[in-house]
Structure formats: C-alpha cells, structure tokens
C-alpha cells in the first residue's frame, strides 16, 4: 500500500485516493487533429524510473494531485496540487 502525502490533508493511505492517469500528457485543443488526439488518448510511456501521475484525494479534499513516483520502487519524490490556483491558495494558507 503506497502512502501519499496530500499537501492539503497530510500523509494518507492510497486507498483514500484514486489513480487518475498520466500527468505528462498534454491534451490538445478540442479541435486539434485526429493524430494529436490519438496520441494523447492512446499512447502512454511506461518508464522504468520516475513518472508523473495524477491521484485524486476522493476520500479527503477531492483535489487532483500530481505525484512523482518511481515505477520500480514506488518511492514518491514529490506531491503537488495539480490546479495552480488552488496550489497557490493552499501554499499561502500554510505560511
């Protein structure tokens, strides 16, 4: 069971979170080409090493978090709030 240090709620079990996919994907504009959309929806890297992914703290604050996790050891290097505006608000509140 991996544990994620939610910037808003603190260190919690992964059972409180849901995995929400690859955070390295840049989604194209809604009217972008079929190729661009195909790449974004279907093509995924499977790195043996560090990777960025989204986790949502569904049984907590509900925020989407961007987690840097090692695919071999499951070590977590960083956790940040995905939404820049909310990240700023939480960071200021923590000061």
């Amino acid at each position: 069971m991996i544990r994620i240090d939610c910037p808003f709620c603190g260190l919690r079990d992964h059972t409180e979170f849901s995995y929400e996919g690859d955070a390295t994907i840049e989604y194209p504009a809604l009217d972008a080409s079929e190729d661009a959309w195909f790449d974004a929806v279907f093509l995924r890297e499977n790195p043996r090493g560090w990777h960025r992914e989204y986790w949502r703290h569904g049984f907590g604050c509900g925020l989407f978090l961007e987690v840097e996790r090692h695919m071999v050891t499951h070590e977590i290097r960083s956790v940040k709030i995905a939404h820049p505006g909310m990240a700023k608000v939480v960071a200021e509140a923590d000061k």
Partner: protein, 999 residues
C-alpha cells in the same frame, strides 16, 4: 514409543494440565505445550502423511517451517486445515485431527501410492496433460479423479464461518518483528530513546531462541534477562503483541499482521477470532531469526528425523525428549549445543560432524558430556518406515559416503546450517545475495525501504552477535527518525570456532537413495535433477515443475537445499542460480481475517433514497442497482413483479403515476464560465440554453464513445443543475473535476455534487398536469407558463399546510406528459405524501423501476444497457443531435473511420414474429438461418409491453434500420438453447411523434 516427558525442566506450567483430543482420543498436556510437544510427550511418532505418497510424517521442527506434522484443528464449521502442530498451542477442549489419510495417519491405506512412486515423479501433472502414451487428455481425465482422491492435505469446512474477525489500523515509530535476542535488544534501545515501538511475535510466548536455550546464568539469553527486559519494555509503553504474525511487508512501511485472538481462550466472549492489523511504521526492524536447514540423506523423511536445534527446543522449552538414543548429523558448530542439550537431558547421543577437522573445544566439551563425537562422518540412510529404528552412517568424502556402520537410534537430528528468514523484505522485491562464508542468502542492502534486518535474520547467528545487531539496527532507526548522530556501532560477527562445510545431499557410490528436500510435497533430490534433465533450467521453473516449496510450509526448510542441487545439476553456482521470490503471506492467513467486518451487507454501502420509509409503507419491493436499493414495484393483492409492473405502466399511460428519481446523479455547475464548460463537455450545443429551460445532453469520452446522458437545467445565468444517470453519478463528477483541475484550470467554474442534497419524484401521465396544477402556489403548469423542457423554482404545499422549496422541470422519460420535481432531501417524505394524495385522487399510482423501464423501452430511450461504452452517438440514433459547429470532447476521435462505418450495429426495435413470444436480453442477433460467427449484434433491453401486447426489445444490428427495417432476423440464446424469430422495427414503439409528452 519414542518421545517422553522429562521429569523436570522446560518452560511449561506443570501445575496446569490441559486436556485435548487427537483423532478423538483424549490426551493430556501442560499449559505452554504445542500440539507437537504434547503428542511427542505421549510418544506419538506419526502425525501426518505426505501429499503424494502418503508416507508417514513425524515432527520435523519446532516452528513455522514444519513440513511433516501438519494437522487440522477444531471441528465442524470451525475446523482449520493444514495447521502446523509445532505452532499450535494446546488449549482445553482442542480437537486435533490427522489429515490426508484414511482411516487414520497411523494406518493409511493411501500409502500404497508409495509403491507407484515412479509414476508420481516431478512434472507428473504436466506429463499426464500430454498423455503418457500420447493419448492426450483422456488419460488426464482419468488420472485427475485418482489424484483428487489421493492427493491434497486437510479439508476445509464447507459450512459458513461462524466466527467474526476484525481489521484494525495502527501507527508507530518502529515496528520490530520478532522477539528473540535481536528483537528485544532493538526494542529496548528504541524505547530508551522514547520511540513509539511495537514488538510483534508470532509465537504465543515472547523470547524467540531464548526459550530454546538452556542458560540460567542470569546473563543475556537467560530467563531472568528475558523477564526483566519484557518488564522494562512494558513499563516504557512498548506494545508487545504475541500470537501476531507479520505476514506481508508492503510499500512505504506498511505491514500486515495477523493476531490469533481467541483460539487459546476457553471463553472468548465477544472477541474476534483473529484480527488483521495494518501497521504503518516509520521504520521496521526485521528480527525474524533464522531457520535451521537439514541436508538430504536416504529416507530422511522418516518419523524421528528432525532438525537438531528443534530436538533441543523440545527438551529446553517443553521438557520433552524426542528419543532415548539420538544421532545428530552436523556440518557446523551450532549442532554441538543441540547435542549437549539432549545429552544433558539423559539422551544417549552420538554426534556425526561432516567436517574432517572438528572444532576442538566444542568437541572436547561434548565428549566430556558423554557424547560420542565422530569426525568426518555423516548419516547415509535412515532405517524404519514407521519411525526411525537405526541409522546407517558412513565417512564423507565431500560428496559421497558409503554406509559402513549401523547405529541403533530412535531419533536423528540434522543441522545443515541456517537460513535467515528474510521473506518480509523479499516481498518488496529486494534480492538477497549468497554469502559463501555463512552458506546462506543474506540481504545486505534494503534499498530505499525503511527496513533493517537484525540478528540471525541478518546472518548473526550467535546470541551475542544478535544482541549487538539489534542495538545497531535500533541506533540506525533512531538516526533516520531523529537525525541525531550517534557513534556508529560495528557490524557484529558470528564467531564460530570452525567454518561451516556446505553439505546438501549424501550420496552412496552405487546405490540410489530416496532423499527428500520437501517432505510435505514428496519432492526428492532426484526430482530436482530430473527437472533439470527435462530442460527446467530456471529456479522458478524448477519450483513449479517439481512443486518444491509449494506446500503449506512454502519450502522454509528445504528450498536452499533444492537451489544448491539445481545449481550443481546445471554446473553453476548458487549465486548464479539465484533464489525463488517470496511473496506474502509468510504463513497462511485466514481469508476471514482479511475480510474483517466487511462481509454480508457490510462489504459495501447500502444507499436508500430519502423516501425509503414512504415506499416501505406502501409495501414496495426494492431491487439492488449498484449501491442503491431502488423501488422496484408496489404489489397489490399478491401480485408478482410482472403483473404489478404491467398494472403500474398501464395506469401511467391511462392516468398518471409517480416514481422516485432520487438516485439520479446531480451536480451543480456554477461560475462565469459554466456555459462554455457545458458547451465543451456535451456533444450538443448548450451556448444558447435560456434561463428557465432544461436540455437533454449527451456526453462523450475523449475517445469518441458515449459516456453518459442526462438533462441540465439552467437556473440562472451562471447556475446549472446537471443530472446524470444513476450509475454514472460518480464517474461524471470525477470527469468534470478532472477537466477543471488538470486540463482547463483557467476556467472559472465550480462543481458540487448535490446528489444526496436533492431527492426527486417524476409525475407522469395524461393527468400529470391535473396532479400538479394547484399543488404549488407559485408555479403554473400550463403549456404557456411551462412549455416542454421548462424549468421553474418555487414551493409545494404539503399536508401540514406548509410550503416546501422545490424545483421542477417538464421532462419525460416515459413518453407521457411529465414533470420531475426535486426537493431538498429532508423535505422529500412530505413531498411524497403530498403528491401521492393528488396522484391517487387522479386515479394514478406510484410506480417502480420495472414499469419505468418498460415504458422507456416502448419509447426507445437508452439507458446503461445501451450506453455500454462501446456505442457512439450515431449508434444509439442520436447522431443528428451532435453539434457540427462547435468543438467538444470526443468529437475528433468520434470521427475515426471505424466509428463512422455504415455497417456498425445501431439501435433498432425488435418485435417477435409470433406475437408475445418471450426472448432475452443478451441474445445474439443473426440473419435468418445463418447462426454462426459473431452475428449482427445483440439484444440490449427487453420489456413485456402492455401497449403493444407483446414482448418487445431494443437491440443493435449491423447496418441498422436502413438495412433491416421490416425484415426478419433471429435472436439466438445459445445458453438456454432458445431461438426466436424477430422483426426489425423502429425503436420508437409507442407514440413515435411524441404527441403525448408535448401535449
């Protein structure tokens, strides 16, 4: 007779006798005895039978590594199979049963399998799959019956488990696993620094190897030291958990433990039988000890052959001698102490040391104690099929030995070295390395894991070294947690007098011996070589082919011997051959304990709508839909489902009805960019939806397939009330949150799930307006005041005369003139009663899910059965709805060639050619007389329509209406052997122009 109780000694309470039964015969033991020690004390030798050959098996160890004395405990529904007799403590009334034998383990007719041993060699199962003589699976079918009868271990009860279990969560600074010298010294060092410590011990007694020692000098490893250490730990608040096995080590310092709570209690009360403890530890110290391993020699599986240290444990801990005349075969120093313990208990002991040069001081001490020490000698073959009578011994040349002498004996102890218990750290994928000097796999680097090994688990095999190792691990943990620098303690060393000489198997020059390395699964040394000859060169393949280490003990004793022999057969080294991977659990875990309280109705939530009591008062029957209990039908005078639903649907079409729609997902979408947001997430246009109007919306996934549908009500310029299907309430909320937080963070939109805040009723039927007109003092329901899709907020007057807040929209799922009325959840019961009175007055009824489903099929409306994740908007007949002008989610990929193919299966209606014939959802549709291949599509929904007087269905057919309308096809249900001729029609069976709902 072999074993016997010694007149004194042992850590048992001789003042408290305990009575238990062994295969229905009453036995006595003492408090502190295990099943194994109590049976040994009574001279029982055959405790179990092996898996394949049904060979007699005796007690081979004193712990979890036991591979011979495997029994069943308790009776009937509480029966537990495959328990190691060496681990189970005896308690009053305990029933112990021999297993895998008939009529009993002492007299087992299945042992004739032994005579057919050559057929049961390694890979037996795989070979019979292919057929011994090439006849293929026929032989397997025949053999399978035989194997199922003959093989296997204990039988589990087939009755429901009468016990309850619980899961508890814990946290600590440091979890110490194992309470031997290393674990105790680590815990003491940690506690003295104020650390929050949990000390877990799988045994029922704390102390580990101290309990097997003979020392009473008051120093470390004595009883006095043990008692004062435990007292000190308790005083400092260390949580000491005995009978608690750490079975798995997981990511980020999470450890799963099983505590056996009540099996040792005479009166368990309300306590759970077992407790699964999930501990989150900041650091973990594994002081899990080491397991002595045997080496293989002829017939080394006979009852009476055991690990040397275990023989000593029975003397020291349980006051039981395993025999009167013992031969101990060793290849290392540790076996001398075991021999000394036996000799001091009056057992006539011979010690065979495989090494030509024996440790001088140990040997002279042993000789002084009356032990016959013979250098360079090894056991060759045990004599006595139902228990050891004698042992042939020979001189060892480093590989082979020729039997040259026969020693009369009734037990044989073996010490082939020690295997550190590193299962837990292996669970994290950490690979151990072979240590030549210790002849053992040792974990030297635990990587990023917050884990350290200490004591014999780390290869520090003497008590002195283990104590130092524990202190060292504690110091490292304190440093990691507090950052305090402390002087680094030196790595302790095991100071054995003479080095260990690796011995794996004793072979005779001209004779094949049957040498076992997995006594429970009957795997011999020859099986390992056979596997290699047949091409199984990887240890993982060898393991599976021979089943070595796959029995209930998971090869704790014999695995390393098997690996060494594999390496030898392959002409390589042990490090090159490697080891197999250990996975949780370390020892077997009850499924019940893992489930805890989450069983029956407690394994998932049960959701009721706020009008549950009102439904129940009407005698409503409920149906499970996901977590929800939805109102299904309201039977009158003994009606069944079909009749009630038909009556309800007819009443709605003729008069009016009301149905609970509270389970719909409800989401408030608010903010200056809410309109633009909806315009992007729905495939149809939302930019121009006026305030006070609702619109049906179809949501696609990124990949272009339909995700969900529902209506969205515009309450103000910036406030929308979105409804989703019941099943997708959560997923849609998550989808929208994902978009707003990760993809379009610049959008000024806030979403809130209000599914539980609002409850709702739909009032539908030709008299719906009559029901609602006047119900709400501030809302008018006329066509002019509220046209189709109109939305109004206001109040509903309830029975008490008070007005409750409601919002309502003129929407129809049934095809009738209809309104959805939503009220805050707490007002819903009052709304239900107020509207029911008015519905009844208009000749209407409450209706349930079944009638609603029937009416929506009549109208060709889709639900989750049609929106199954594989359908496009065009597939369900809504292609025209999608906007051609604006970009929206899913639009680009919905245009992929395969998603716009003309022969895609699209939504159609299906009518049986013989009116009234019943057919089933899930049936596969084929052209007439061509029922092969994958067919044209399938039947998705079915209903017994009162309006059409027939079963009708929705389904998908390749090419759809343009190709098939009016034609006959066949609905095939191969599971039930049914075939129905159906005609393809428009899915709008009833009122295709929608005149009723607009009227």
């Amino acid at each position: 007779m072999s074993g016997y109780r010694l007149p004194k000694g042992g850590r048992i309470d001789r003042s408290r006798a305990v009575s238990f039964t062994w295969d229905d015969t009453r036995y006595m033991g003492f408090t502190g005895d295990t099943v194994a020690s109590a049976l040994m004390a009574r001279g029982e030798r055959i405790i179990g039978r092996s898996f394949k050959y049904h060979r007699a098996r005796g007690i081979m160890s004193a712990g979890v590594e036991e591979s011979g004395a495997v029994v069943s405990l308790w009776s009937d529904a509480r029966r537990v199979a495959n328990v190691k007799a060496t681990q189970a403590e005896i308690v009053p009334g305990l029933a112990v049963w021999g297993q895998n034998a008939w009529p009993s383990v002492r007299m087992d007719l299945g042992s004739v399998n032994n005579l057919f041993g050559r057929f049961f060699a390694a890979g037996f199962y795989y070979k019979t799959f292919f057929g011994i003589s090439g006849r293929g699976t026929w032989e397997w079918m025949q053999f399978e019956k035989l194997i199922r009868q003959a093989a296997g271990m204990g039988r589990a009860s087939d009755k429901p488990d009468p016990d309850h279990y619980e899961i508890v969560h814990d946290h600590c600074d440091v979890l110490v696993v194992g309470s031997g010298p290393a674990g105790l010294s680590a815990a003491a060092a940690l506690a003295s620094q104020g650390m929050d410590v949990i000390l877990a011990e799988q045994d029922f007694a704390v102390g580990g190897s101290i309990l097997s020692g003979g020392s009473d000098d008051g120093g470390p490893s004595s009883d006095a030291w043990l008692a004062s250490t435990v007292e000190g730990l308790t005083a400092k608040g260390v949580r000491i958990w005995s009978r608690t096995t750490a079975f798995g080590l997981y990511d980020h310092g999470v450890v799963g433990l099983i505590e056996r709570v009540t099996d040792h209690l005479e009166h368990p009360g309300d306590l759970p039988r077992e407790r699964c403890r999930i501990v989150r530890a900041r650091r973990i110290i594994l002081a899990t000890g080491a397991v002595e391993r045997p080496f293989a020699f002829g017939d080394n599986d006979r009852p009476g052959v055991m690990l040397a240290s275990s023989a000593a444990t029975y003397v020291s801990r349980f006051g039981v001698a395993p025999g009167k005349r013992a031969v101990i075969g060793v290849n290392n120093d540790s076996g001398y102490a075991s021999a000394m313990t036996l000799a001091q208990a009056g057992v006539e002991t011979t010690l065979l040391d495989a090494r030509a040069s024996v440790p001088r001081s140990l040997a002279s001490t042993a000789r002084e104690a009356g032990i016959d020490v013979r250098a360079g000698m090894v056991p060759v073959q045990a004599i006595g099929s139902r228990g050891v009578r004698a042992l042939d011994i020979g001189r060892y040349d480093g590989e082979r030995a020729l039997a040259e002498d026969r020693l009369s004996c009734d037990m044989i102890g073996v010490s082939g070295g020690w295997t550190p218990v590193m299962h837990l750290i292996s669970h994290k994928g950490i690979k151990p390395a072979w240590n030549e000097e210790l002849s053992a796999f040792i974990v030297e680097d635990t990587g990023i894991e917050p884990v350290a090994l200490a004591g014999s688990a780390a290869g520090h095999f003497t008590t002195e070294a283990a104590l130092k190792g524990g202190e060292r691990a504690a110091a490292e943990a304190i440093k990691a947690l507090t950052g305090k620098r402390r002087t680094k303690l030196p790595e302790p060393e095991t100071d054995w007098e003479a080095p260990l000489q690796p011995v794996w198997e004793i072979r005779e020059p001209d004779r094949k011996l049957k040498c076992f390395i997995d006594p429970q699964h009957d795997v011999t040394t020859e099986d390992v070589r056979l596997a290699h000859r047949e091409g199984y060169v990887s240890v993982e393949h060898m393991k599976r082919y021979t089943t070595l280490g796959m029995a209930t003990d998971q090869g704790k004793m014999g695995n390393v011997v098997g690996l060494a022999l594999m390496a030898e057969a392959a002409g390589s080294t042990i490090p090159e051959t490697g080891t197999t991977t250990f996975r949780p659990p370390y020892t077997p875990v009850s499924i019940g304990a893992l489930a805890g309280d989450e069983r029956g109705t407690h394994w998932r939530p049960t959701r009721h709508t706020p009008m549950r009591l009102e439904h129940e008062q009407l005698g409503c029957k409920f149906v499970d839909a996901g977590f929800w209990r939805r109102s299904w039908y309201y039977p009158e005078k003994g009606e069944n489902l079909a009749r009630a639903a038909k009556r309800e649907a007819k009443a709605v079409r003729a008069y009016v009805g009301m149905v609970d729609v509270s389970t719909l997902g409800k989401i408030m979408v608010q903010g200056p960019d809410a309109t633009e947001f909806l315009n992007r997430v729905y495939s149809n246009p939302f930019a121009k939806l006026p305030v006070g109007k609702a619109r049906y919306g179809l949501m696609l996934r990124d990949d272009g397939f339909v995700f969900d549908d529902g209506t969205t009500w515009r309450l103000t310029e910036t406030d929308y009330f979105m409804t989703t299907t019941t099943a997708n309430a959560g997923p849609v909320m998550l989808h929208l949150a994902n978009l707003l937080q990760t993809r379009w963070p610049e959008m000024r939109v806030h979403i809130t799930s209000v599914s539980d805040h609002w409850g709702g009723l739909a009032v539908a039927g030709p008299k719906a307006r009559e029901v609602l007109d006047g119900a709400c003092p501030d809302i008018k329901f006329s066509d002019e005041a509220m046209p189709f899709m109109g939305v109004r907020q206001g109040h509903l007057r309830v029975e008490s005369g008070q007005d409750i807040p409601v919002m309502t929209a003129r929407l129809s799922f049934s095809g009738e003139q209809a309104w959805e009325v939503m009220a805050p959840a707490d007002y819903c019961p009052a709304m239900f009663r107020a509207l029911l009175t008015r519905v009844r007055a208009a000749g209407g009824v409450p209706y349930g899910l079944e009638a609603m489903d029937c009416m929506r099929v009549e109208k060709g409306h889709v639900t989750g059965r049609e929106l199954d994740g594989r359908t496009t908007a065009a597939d369900i007949g809504l292609g025209m709805m999608a906007s051609k002008k604006k970009p929206y989610i899913g639009r680009v990929l919905a245009g992929r060639p395969d998603l716009v193919r003309e022969d895609r299966p699209t939504l159609v209606g299906l009518l049986p050619v013989e009116k009234g014939t019943r057919f089933k959802a899930g049936a596969i549709l084929f052209p007439q007389n061509e029922s092969k291949g994958h067919g044209l599509g399938h039947v998705s929904s079915i209903a017994d329509s009162p309006e059409l007087g027939s079963w009708i269905a929705l389904g998908f057919v390749a090419g759809g209406l343009p190709k098939w309308e009016g034609k006959e096809i066949s609905a095939e249900n191969p599971i039930d052997g049914e075939s129905t001729r159906v005609r393809v029609v428009s899915p709008h069976f009833f009122d295709p122009k929608g005149e009723r709902m607009h009227g």
